[in-house]
């Protein structure tokens, strides 16, 4: 879908016109099918602002909800890992994504949590609105991102039992949502300086996001205990952990023309007669973690 021909880009740049005046035939957008026009409305804000005419558009006061400071800190760290100081994507071939979105649960739901943070069982009701994900952004990986504050010393082992279920709102009983599918799993990790825990829920959310569901309602029960189950040590008393409702992290591959396609440019650089085309190994983890985790796992085993 990515053509570098100048003519093509002239046509697409014709798309970059402010949507306000789509009512008149003079605007090329008017001739486009409605779906494509809607696609323009979801153009990344950076390109929309670049396309708007005249400086008065540039400091448009679009009201913005302020993100959670923890989430912002996490994304700044991800930015540093993925891009150089000049802002150029790092050339390490391991990560396939060119878009990462972090959603915090909608605020109304938080109020329903009541006595969050007491005792060891955390049950939260989460509603994520994924409207910003465009049709051309394809899901590679989704992670529930927990940040936790605890007095547990660093490098001690914690085991958490998690129960995740997706809630469906069907019209017959809008008040009591039914549970469509659920999954239970345990998570074992060591407490580190940066207190984040990532729970991979890719296979769990993939069917929903693939069907363009944009409102994801889920209930998450988490019980965390000290100790390591494998070593048959009795799991010690529950930990008093203040768990903030997790954010949802989506690693996406944006196939639109404006997005950077790593493989295209790598192929360009490697272009040479006779050189075999290299495809990313399909099992390659889109975030490049598996390579690391292999290493980490080996070092963990050593430790």
């Amino acid at each position: 879908p990515h053509s570098r021909g100048r003519v093509a880009s002239e046509e697409t740049s014709g798309l970059l016109v402010a949507p306000e005046d789509t009512s008149s035939e003079l605007n090329p957008l008017w001739w486009l099918p409605k779906g494509v026009r809607r696609g323009y409305a979801l153009l990344p804000p950076l390109l929309k602002v670049l396309s708007e005419r005249g400086p008065q558009h540039w400091d448009s006061e679009v009201p913005r909800l302020q993100p959670d400071s923890r989430a912002l800190r996490y994304m700044k760290r991800l930015y540093k890992m993925s891009a150089t100081k000049e802002g150029i994507p790092k050339a390490n071939k391991s990560h396939l994504y060119n878009t990462v979105r972090l959603f915090t649960p909608c605020s109304e739901c938080k109020h329903r949590h009541g006595d969050l943070g007491k005792g060891d069982i955390h049950s939260v009701d989460l509603l994520f609105n994924l409207d910003r994900v465009t049709a051309l952004e394809h899901l590679l990986k989704s992670v529930l991102l927990y940040s936790f504050d605890t007095s547990v010393p660093i490098s001690s082992s914690i085991t958490c039992m998690c129960h995740l279920s997706i809630k469906e709102h069907d019209f017959s009983s809008p008040v009591c949502p039914s549970v469509s599918h659920s999954v239970a799993f345990s998570l074992h990790f060591q407490v580190r300086k940066r207190k984040w825990v990532e729970i991979d829920v890719t296979s769990f959310l993939q069917p929903l996001i693939a069907t363009n569901r944009r409102d994801i309602h889920m209930a998450v029960n988490v019980t965390c205990l000290m100790g390591e189950p494998q070593r048959n040590t009795d799991l010690e008393s529950p930990i008093n952990m203040a768990l903030v409702p997790p954010s949802l992290l989506l690693y996406l591959n944006d196939t639109s023309e404006q997005a950077y396609h790593r493989w295209n440019s790598l192929r360009h650089r490697r272009k040479g007669p006779g050189r075999p085309r290299q495809r990313p190994a399909p099992l390659l983890d889109p975030t490049g973690d598996k390579e690391n985790s292999q290493g980490t796992r080996a070092s963990r085993r050593r430790r």
């Binding site: 993100p67 802002g87 150029i88 994507p89 878009t99 979105r101 609105n129 409207d131 997005a259």
Partner: protein, 130 residues
């Protein structure tokens, strides 16, 4: 070289400058640095990173015979000939970017979510005439 005796009486240092102007023509098409910060555009409220952005730009004259230095297609020379010999309303070849590099941007969306996205062709890295 009509009057070789009248070569300019210059110090050796100036002489190298003098000859260099023949080797490297002045004001020819080349990449120029340009750096901006998103705070100048009042965008830093929603563009978290990078703080600074160097898009660069191309500027300069395109020589009559555009050769290998710019990697220009033969068409560029043909356009030059059209401009000179056939129809001067046809513009001369222009100095434009030939290659780009991408840019990673971290922004806050209107709904408060945070997005890291890699954009194609955001920094000019090389110029050409065409």
């Amino acid at each position: 070289d009509e009057n070789p005796k009248e070569a300019p009486a210059t110090t050796p240092y100036n002489l190298s400058q003098y000859f260099k102007q023949f080797l490297f023509p002045q004001n020819e098409c080349e990449l120029h640095n340009f750096r901006l910060s998103f705070s100048q555009l009042k965008w830093d409220r929603w563009i978290i990173a990078p703080h600074r952005y160097s898009p660069q730009y191309c500027k300069g004259d395109c020589p009559r015979v555009v050769g290998h230095r710019y990697g220009s297609a033969v068409h560029t020379m043909v356009q030059n000939i059209i401009y000179e010999k056939l129809d001067s309303s046809v513009p001369k070849p222009s100095c434009v970017p030939a290659e780009y590099s991408p840019l990673s941007v971290l922004t806050i969306e209107p709904d408060g979510s945070i997005v890291y996205k890699e954009y194609e062709d955001m920094i000019a890295t090389k110029c050409t005439c065409r």
